[in-house]
């Protein structure tokens, strides 16, 4: 049985060098945990270099299970024009957003080489999800600067930048209206404190499965947010608002 209310904003699919997860296995984990839908993104080498191959796996899974998977595709900015072409292709094929991983993809959020992809995502109305929390490439104030530079874009900070940037996550997110925070891996008390500072409407539930446990991460949200209204927003409504915006 699945709940119509729960969407996991961060799951990985594909058979990489260090991480493998089939669509069937992810669906099983979702069913066990009453998760109705999941944002799916590629794993390791498909994020880094073999972008088209990984994107096609994600898009194929979403075509097979359109009511369960929400595909976010990727492109390494160092591929320049080829990266723009790849994202354009995947947007046309149903990609709902973009995942960037500056650590895997070898750039920093302040690199000029990356900006054409940001502008392309905005042009197509696609939200951008960022792995965050890894120095020196993906730190909170770098993402905030990007969100300030592109107020029309939608930016999502993965893992609430776990772990050592916890001093600045709330402060950096509070600077802008277009930055959302995904909850995987961060400790419960911190997730609660951030939500109190920036507002529940900026928080998105994510497990980072299979790097994280969907079961544990869901239990965390239940423990941290006793209000059903808050949980509804974090578990689905906030993400749906992003995905369904005109």
């Amino acid at each position: 049985m699945t709940s119509p209310a729960t969407i996991d904003a961060h799951c990985h699919l594909g058979f990489g060098l260090t991480c493998s997860r089939s669509a069937d296995d992810l669906l099983k984990e979702m069913d066990v945990n009453s998760v109705s839908r999941a944002v799916v993104v590629p794993v390791d080498r498909f994020l880094a270099v073999d972008n088209s191959e990984g994107n096609d796996q994600i898009l194929a899974a979403a075509r097979s299970h359109p009511d369960r998977f929400i595909p976010f595709t990727t492109a390494n900015p160092w591929f320049c024009d080829r990266a723009r072409a790849e994202l354009t292709r995947t947007f046309g094929a149903g990609s709902a957003g973009v995942k960037f991983h500056p650590g895997f993809q070898g750039f920093t959020l302040s690199d000029e080489v990356f900006l054409p992809l940001v502008e392309l995502a905005i042009e197509h109305g696609k939200p951008m999800f960022f792995h965050a929390g890894t120095p020196i490439s993906s730190m909170p104030y770098q993402l905030t600067e990007l969100a300030m530079r592109y107020p029309e874009g939608i930016f999502i900070m993965g893992h609430m930048a776990y772990s050592d940037f916890w001093y600045e996550v709330s402060a950096s997110a509070a600077c802008v209206d277009n930055l959302y925070l995904e909850t995987s891996h961060h400790v419960p008390g911190f997730v609660r404190a951030v939500a109190q500072r920036v507002g529940v409407d900026k928080i998105l539930f994510g497990s980072d499965s299979p790097y994280g446990s969907m079961e544990v991460e869901l239990e965390k949200i239940g423990a941290v947010f006793p209000s059903e209204s808050d949980r509804t927003r974090i578990l689905s409504a906030n993400l749906l608002r992003i995905l369904e915006r005109p």
Partner: protein, 260 residues
């Protein structure tokens, strides 16, 4: 049988704040809710670079643990940049308190692991049989391989990675543990997949678990979250037994309890 030890607990809360409701008995009761029977209790206030009275802070932690000497084990801290005063405090804690573990936090305390001051501290700890547990996983001063270099230069020193390299540097933690038998890993903070890789790759005789609980933070959610994750790791009962009950005693070099 040895007790299950949480090897990463801080007395007080971030910044050195202490709650009046924080008590040793209360901490043990909280740990027991998650099947944990004892803890290595480390200072908090002394880990900040503006702290000058390390003896006072170390005494507070020692006194906190004194009522339960078989279950709460006091660690202590110094700032290596304080030179002779730091060395004096290490000798005092070892001789007067019988403390066996020094906690260092290079990025909060503002020193490099590769410095003459650190060498002086490491050499003394090696001589006195004091293990050092480091905050690690954070550039530029606290990466696992920076910490691990002490294992090479001080081969009889026990060095503990306090966080297993966190989410970004757990792979070099594995490399360090494979290279040095005197390098121990406290799983405390890496995501579940990285924690599993550490459990699979690091011999359990070099492995232990820690929650990073702050005893004055009376919210149990962190204890739940961390120990829930540890219990989800795929390990044999023998590996788990060693990591939970044996390795902490081995690092501390303290006599094991006769009976639990």
């Amino acid at each position: 049988m040895n007790r299950i030890i949480d090897f990463h607990v801080h007395q007080g809360a971030w910044g050195g704040v202490r709650s009046e409701q924080d008590s040793p008995a209360g901490t043990l009761e909280r740990l027991s809710r998650f099947g944990v029977e004892g803890a290595l209790v480390m200072p908090f206030a002394g880990l900040f670079s503006n702290w000058f009275d390390h003896p006072a802070d170390n005494d507070v932690v020692h006194d906190y643990c004194r009522e339960f000497p078989d279950r709460l084990f006091a660690a202590f801290t110094v700032n290596p940049l304080m030179g002779g005063a730091a060395l004096d405090e290490i000798r005092r804690c070892r001789e007067v308190h019988d403390s066996r573990v020094l906690k260092l936090h290079p990025w909060l305390q503002g020193f490099s692991v590769t410095s003459a001051e650190m060498d002086a501290v490491a050499g003394l700890c090696e001589k006195l049989g004091v293990a050092i547990i480091f905050h690690d996983g954070t550039p530029p001063y606290s990466t696992p391989l920076q910490v691990a270099r002490l294992c090479r230069d001080f081969p009889n020193l026990k060095v503990v990675s306090g966080h297993g390299g966190l989410c970004d540097l757990w792979q070099e933690t594995i490399a360090a543990a494979r290279r040095y038998r005197n390098f121990y890993v406290c799983i405390c903070g890496p995501h579940l997949s990285a924690a599993q890789a550490l459990a699979d790759s690091v011999p359990s005789a070099q492995l232990c678990f820690g929650s990073d609980l702050s005893t004055s933070d009376l919210d149990d959610s962190l204890l739940w979250y961390r120990w829930r994750g540890f219990r989800a790791l795929r390990m044999t009962s023998g590996q788990r037994e060693t990591a939970e009950r044996m390795t902490p005693y081995e690092i501390m070099g303290v006599p094991r309890p006769k009976e639990v």
